[in-house]
């Protein structure tokens, strides 16, 4: 007779706890430990404890500026991004503006476009010397010097805001379409005009939702790394995430892991605080939640004479969004830098693409990337499906521990987590392989995966799995044959999401870069620094094309289904 302590379910649960514990707690503990080691020693090589790093951090006048920079940068990007997103979402969900389906698809697909690539595009457009737009203005209006510069605080803010829009749009559109239309209809029936209804009913009802989107996006910007590193460093706008990077991988000199870890701890504390606020707001939001599962669609507002201006505004926004991409395409189709214009049309060629795909480093990077993204996405969804099952079904205490552990990475900024992973594994054979990237990505996207899977599994009646067990199938078999096949679409959707995010991410591969584990994102970085502009552009276009090819069909299908 088998002991009740040793059945499949319990063994898997224990294994999961061990794996997640190592993935999540290991790095955090090492990070905190390292922040207390003397500056000149390597992590895990000393038992000395010192507060020196935190003292350095506190007395430095730079620190205040750093934190202020980070907060102002995140606040303003978030505010602009969320405003644009709210406007566009309102137009596509609540008005009779034509083309809302196309906009939806566009927004969903845009999430697969790497921020890094868009950043490169903007630099090519706006840099003070050869930036295409600057050149254009110089020729048209005969101005001296430059009109725009990409290397300024506010340009960084604007570019980040544009990058924030698609995700914010998707969240806000969800809020708008799930709102019970009866609440608005009641106001209309009782005599409230459209404007009164919008300001007195719709807006207040949306406030908790919008607030949580705002906090979420603020958190995302605080943690962001790609744009601050390619634009912010030259613009001399240091933020916490780039400071952590520079301290652990300085251009010259020895890395100062202790101080870097101390900054990491500061960023971690900031992020955990935000997380707490986010959870608090979303929980109170539940209380007057307006999301009903009903299939009703709210009545659309007729724009009337506002139709043309609104459409122009939306079109202008999309034009601006696509400018950097067009610029990259243009450059990738030439062998050298060629300013955009009719003159350049004659030199269009695929030579750069041919050169890039034969470059052995790029080939290695592509192979590494494929391994990395497939492995990360698969691990994340595998772990997340099992964890999701335990969080939804199990009332064991360990199940709850697992739930919290898997949620924790949500509050750890990727840059901090990667630093911690670096500190933990730098002396192991894992360092320098693709697998350390897989490990980091798995940890970072675990929280997302678990949320996705637990909300999918909660819709599946418990008795469906129980019935399989009663029919004689083992627990694992009941999962494999019944429960997971029923949530297959969500698993696939989560897989694609993780796939795309791993491929576009620069934080992890750059922090952990060695000669042997180069991936496409780091190859791009190297080409850019070299500098090989046409090469960067061509590889960017290839990366973006591939991601869209993978992600777009799902997004189009999803948008079509939810139409």
């Amino acid at each position: 007779m088998p002991s009740r302590r040793l059945n499949q379910e319990r063994v898997v649960l224990l294994l999961l706890c061990a794996v997640i514990g190592v993935l999540v707690l290991g790095p955090v503990i090492v990070l905190i430990r390292t922040s207390f080691t003397p500056p000149e020693s390597m992590p895990l090589e000393t038992i000395a404890l010192t507060l020196e790093n935190f003292v350095t951090l506190l007395v430095s006048s730079n620190t205040v500026r750093l934190v202020l920079n980070t907060v102002i940068y995140a606040l303003s990007s978030m505010a602009i991004g969320v405003s644009i997103a709210t406007f566009v979402a309102w137009c596509t969900e609540r008005t009779d503006m034509p083309g809302s389906f196309v906009i939806r698809v566009f927004m969903f697909c845009w999430m697969a476009v790497p921020a890094l690539v868009v950043g490169f595009g903007w630099i090519l457009l706006l840099n003070p010397g050869q930036g295409a737009l600057n050149v254009l203005f110089r020729e048209l209006f005969d101005v001296k010097g430059y009109v725009f510069t990409v290397y300024s605080f506010w340009t960084l803010v604007l570019i980040t805001a544009f990058a924030v829009v698609p995700t914010a749009y998707v969240m806000i559109a969800g809020l708008l379409r799930n709102m019970d239309p009866q609440l608005e209809q009641a106001s209309r029936v009782l005599g409230g005009g459209p404007v009164v209804t919008a300001f007195r009913i719709t807006m207040p009802l949306l406030t908790p939702g919008l607030l949580s989107v705002a906090i979420y996006m603020f958190m995302a910007v605080v943690q962001t790394f790609d744009l601050p590193v390619i634009i912010g460093l030259t613009a001399n706008v240091p933020v916490l995430s780039t400071r952590v990077y520079l301290l652990s991988a300085p251009v010259n000199g020895m890395p100062n892991y202790g101080l870097s870890a101390a900054f990491g701890v500061v960023l971690l504390v900031l992020a955990v605080g935000l997380m707490w606020v986010y959870l608090y707001v979303t929980r109170t939001g539940e209380r007057f939640r307006v999301v009903t599962g009903k299939a009703f669609r709210p009545r659309r507002i007729a724009l009337g004479r506002w139709k043309v201006p609104v459409m122009l505004a939306v079109a202008a926004y999309f034009l601006i969004m696509s400018l950097p991409i067009v610029m990259l395409l243009w450059i990738s189709l030439h062998t050298g830098y060629e300013k955009p214009g009719v003159a350049g049309l004659e030199n269009l060629t695929f030579a750069t693409f041919a050169r890039i795909v034969e470059n052995p480093v790029v080939i290695r990077a592509v192979i590494n990337t494929i391994v990395m993204v497939i492995a990360s996405a698969t691990f994340v969804m595998l772990l997340a499906s099992l964890i999701g099952w335990f969080t939804v079904r199990s009332n064991r205490k360990l199940g709850k521990v697992l739930d919290i552990l898997s949620f924790l990475p949500m509050a750890i900024p990727p840059i901090v987590l990667v630093l911690a992973v670096l500190l933990l594994y730098i002396r192991t054979p894992l360092y320098g392989t693709v697998w350390i990237l897989v490990l980091s990505h798995t940890t970072i996207y675990l929280a997302f995966g678990t949320r996705t899977m637990s909300s999918a599994l909660i819709q599946i009646h418990k008795e469906l799995g129980d019935a399989a067990m009663l029919s004689g199938a083992s627990w694992l078999k009941s999962l494999r044959l019944v429960t997971f096949p029923l949530v297959w679409p969500q698993i696939l959707n989560g897989w694609v999401w993780v796939f795309a995010h791993c491929a576009r991410d620069l934080t992890v591969p750059l922090m952990l870069m060695t000669t042997s584990n180069i991936v496409v994102a780091t190859a791009l970085w190297n080409l850019w620094e070299f500098p090989d502009l046409p090469g960067t552009a061509a590889l960017s276009v290839l990366l973006m094309g591939t991601l869209l090819l993978v992600a777009a069909p799902f997004q189009i299908y999803a948008a079509y289904k939810n139409r």
Partner: protein, 377 residues
Amino acid sequence: MLELENLTKSFDSRHQQRNEPALKGVSFRVCEGEFFTLLGPSGCGKTTTLQCIAGLEDPDTGRIRIGGDWVFDAQAGTSLPANHRGLGMVFQSYAIWPHMTVLENVSFPLVHGVRRCPSSQVRPRAIQALEMVELGHLADRPAPLLSGGQQQRVALARALVHEPRLLLLDEPLSNLDARLRETMRTELRHLVKNLGTTTIFVTHDQVEAVGMSDKIALMREGLVVQEGTPRDICMRPNDVFVAEFIGQNNLVDASLTQGPPNAVARTSFGEVHCNANDDVAVGERAVLVVHPRALVLGDDGGADHENRFHATVADVIFLGDQLDVALQVGEQVLHASLDPFSDLRVGDTVELRLPAERCTVVRGDIAHAGSTRDMGR
């Protein structure tokens, strides 16, 4: 065949303020081939008991024997996984897997179960099981395209196809409409009785329980209150809760002036000769239970003069197949069910007799019983 010994089970109460155990010491035995019903109001722990038998939940204490094996023993720390217990179960939601066809659903235990059968026999046996529930012609239909009644039959076929030692049914009829429920009641009983499968049936509907079972265990707040044949439970309730739950019984505040045999109870309208359960002490506050069909109206020529009272008709409700009459006896109102042809009117005075052998005094308090009635219905 099945034996439960002192099962207790508490759930981690994240959502509840008070942490009442779901089971507080449930014990009963079921014999081979018996149709055994767990009856009780919502939340009394029927499903929890069933899930403990099935192996889907582990009790905190106690043990469970199926056939000759102790499949669960808290003290020894052993628990046979659900898939090794060799049971069949029909769930309240039917749990028909929507991504499979009807045949795939039914053949699942034969293909993936612990006791598989040779692949050549899978289809014939599954079809046979489907024919047993008269659904052989739907074998290749995708499962989501079934009506509620058909789903219920498929679930039954799936639970029986691998010839389980024990069949567990969790309110299988409660999702059907009234008419279908009635036909399925008889069909279900016929089917399992013909197969000889021992069956544990869970329901909160006393009509269902009484009509289908060989034996009933009535549960309340995690305990079995009374166990017995449907006749025992209906005619000889041992507790005011049982009397209240099982039918439209009249409950009258009473106390014994004389213990059994020849027990006499004092009520607000006089002394009543009656049966009394052994656990009721003389003088103690108790309840007199009178079945609405037990009341005899008019002079029926009974020889004895005991238990005769004068009553006034306070209300008459015509229900088609019976006449419900409220009778004012002193300060007490008694309800009687009469045949619909009697022509009583409000205000009539009648002579009323309560045959002593049909009156029972049980322990308990009416106020206490009333609160559970609302939960049950």
